[in-house]
């Protein structure tokens, strides 16, 4: 089961290592982790996407809550949040294939942000599953490099995770 955790933390030195250390120490795997400051000064928000059964997620939430700099932990409910990931893909691109790749990017609503003689760089910001679709579509041309930010997520509607 894949789940998304939204964690508010105090902006202190070492907080990220405390959290990532907790995962590795207890044998839990992280699929992606994204961190950035929030609208409250000194509070950062960490979004973690990970895999595990119900027991693992529950333990994880409780163990995260025990860390002193952790202010709040929320498991986002499937289907009730919006998630996005930014990805930059450098694709091998002979001149003859350029139009084809541009067309694919257009269909997916991705942007071409850089062009060189033998490659193009595509920028895409979407939920993880659409990001994976784009990667699959571009694979046949030869992907040289991928950079992903990790997923960030926010509740739909009026629900929120705040201090």
């Amino acid at each position: 089961m894949q789940y998304t955790l939204s964690i508010l933390v105090e902006n202190q030195a070492g907080v990220l290592s405390k959290i990532s250390g907790l995962f590795s120490r207890r044998g839990f795997n992280i699929d992606s982790l994204a961190v950035g400051v929030t609208n409250t000064p000194n509070v950062s928000r960490i979004t973690i996407v990970a895999n595990g059964d119900e027991y693992v997620v529950e333990q994880l939430e409780k163990q995260l809550n025990k860390l002193i700099p952790v202010i709040k932990v929320k498991r986002l409910t499937e289907g009730e949040f919006i998630s996005r990931e930014l990805i930059l893909i450098k694709v091998h691109c002979a001149a003859a294939k350029r139009a084809e790749i541009i067309k694919t990017a257009e269909i997916m609503q991705a942007k071409i942000v850089d062009v060189a003689s033998s490659c193009v760089t595509v920028e895409y910001c979407e939920c993880a599953s659409r990001v994976n679709t784009l990667i699959d579509l571009l694979k046949p041309y030869g992907i040289r490099e991928i950079v992903r930010t990790g997923t960030v997520a926010i509740d739909r509607g009026t629900a929120s995770v705040s201090v």
């Binding site: 105090e10 030195a13 529950e58 002193i68 202010i71």
Partner: protein, 540 residues
Amino acid sequence: MISGAEIMVKCLEAEGVSVVFGYPGATICPFYDKIYDSSMKDVLVRQEQNAAHAASGYARCSGRPGVCVATSGPGATNLITGIATAYMDSIPMVAITGQVRSDLLGRDVFQEADITGACEPFVKHSYLVSKTEDLPRIFKEAFHIASTGRQGPVLIDIPMDIQTNEIEEFVYPDSVNIIGYKPNTKGHAVQVKRAVEAIKKSKRPLIVSGGGVLSSGVKPKFQNFAIKTRIPVISTMMGIGVMPSDNELYLGMLGTHGKAVANRVLHEADLVIVCGARLGDRAVAAPDQMSNNTTVIHIDIDPAEIGKNVKTEIPIVGDMRNVLKMLAENIGDYTVPEQWQQTVNAWKKDLYKTPPVFDGFVEPRTLMSHLSAMFRSKAILVADVGQNQIWCANNFRIREGRFLTTGGMGTMGYSIPAAVGAKFARPDRDVIAVCGDGSFQMGMNELATIAGNNLNIKIIIMKNTRLGMVRELQDKNYGGRHSATILQGDPDFLGIARAYGIDCAQASSNDEAESIIKGIVNSDKPFILVCNVYPDTPSI
């Protein structure tokens, strides 16, 4: 103007700390220099790990966080095992380490170690101080975090320049406000009502007491609750002493090394009230030890413990003190069904068996069962780790005193330094440390601390020239191949005691051992008794 080191001392004084256990070094010298002028007692241990164990013994007997101090680098890394022990055993502790100058951090200078990084899995929280101004807030927070919620060790790592820098004035904060740390102590009223309903409905209820009952300081209230409701009690290793051993409701320690009676009652019970225990693998090794139909009520201050090891129907997060009060108020005049009381009473008769005696040796289980009566009723017994721990846990008859051991971490060498801490906390009480010849050799450097401070601690060494517990494991699971478990080169322990100026004797029978002990209980000096134990004596 006031220096960081002076502030550290003032913070400790403001927290009511009267004794610190430690070992100095260059980077903690500014602090030691200021201790020199203070009313605080600094106890010089002989290895940093023992400073943490002593702080643990002190904390458990005083009910306040123990304080240990070490220098940077090896001093700090030596502390780790002691800190980890306190973490697993949920003991309130503040560990202070010196660190190299802030501007040298990360440059691998002499005696530099990333101790906050190294200790991360073993502390409740840690600080690497970056400004002298932050010291009062950090000390206030550290003592608060260590002593509230689920207690545990907090590490404060203080670079040397932070200790020597001066600031305008010292103001100790009145309160703390840590946004992410607000432990729930209250206990949920609805859950308590559900628990009481379940207890009233059950035919065979049982209480499992853990260390949490002792750390919340509610032993008398807990005993009242059990006695009033007549619910039988078993305990985890950390919970030993919650009930007097000879109370008719008490059926001993559970688990792989526990009493058969305790495990039997756990299996037969239809409702188990777990009080401040995490039920680790040594307590409930196989989930089928408990019947599938058993209703579990789990009371714990740490929500992460509930449902972690045992499936729980009624979770109650809160401090035992509050939850027990609520339970007592709600349960009214309830007492357990007559039939269950009779069953349990009948089993209680099987609790203690007389083990066979081997000529020319002390039978350690028999000695343990007689030991309590020879000392005053509030005696503190500190058991080390190994067979000696099990002999003590299962046979020492606690009256009004304490049983200290490391049930969580199981750190060999704990008993002697922890006894030092216990004695500093309770100089008025008899303090006895029991260890094996293996564990004694891990803690014996503290004989100097005992001798130097003339601490009235009685040490009993169970000498079987074996690492008995591992030897037993090898006999059971490894075809009796005693790999590295025969203690060759054991020293003359009496000679060692004499070298430290500590009185000593040895015994080769229980009569001899008991007559020696009777002769020394009233002395105010330390004593070491070496008991020759038959090498194949089993743990249980």
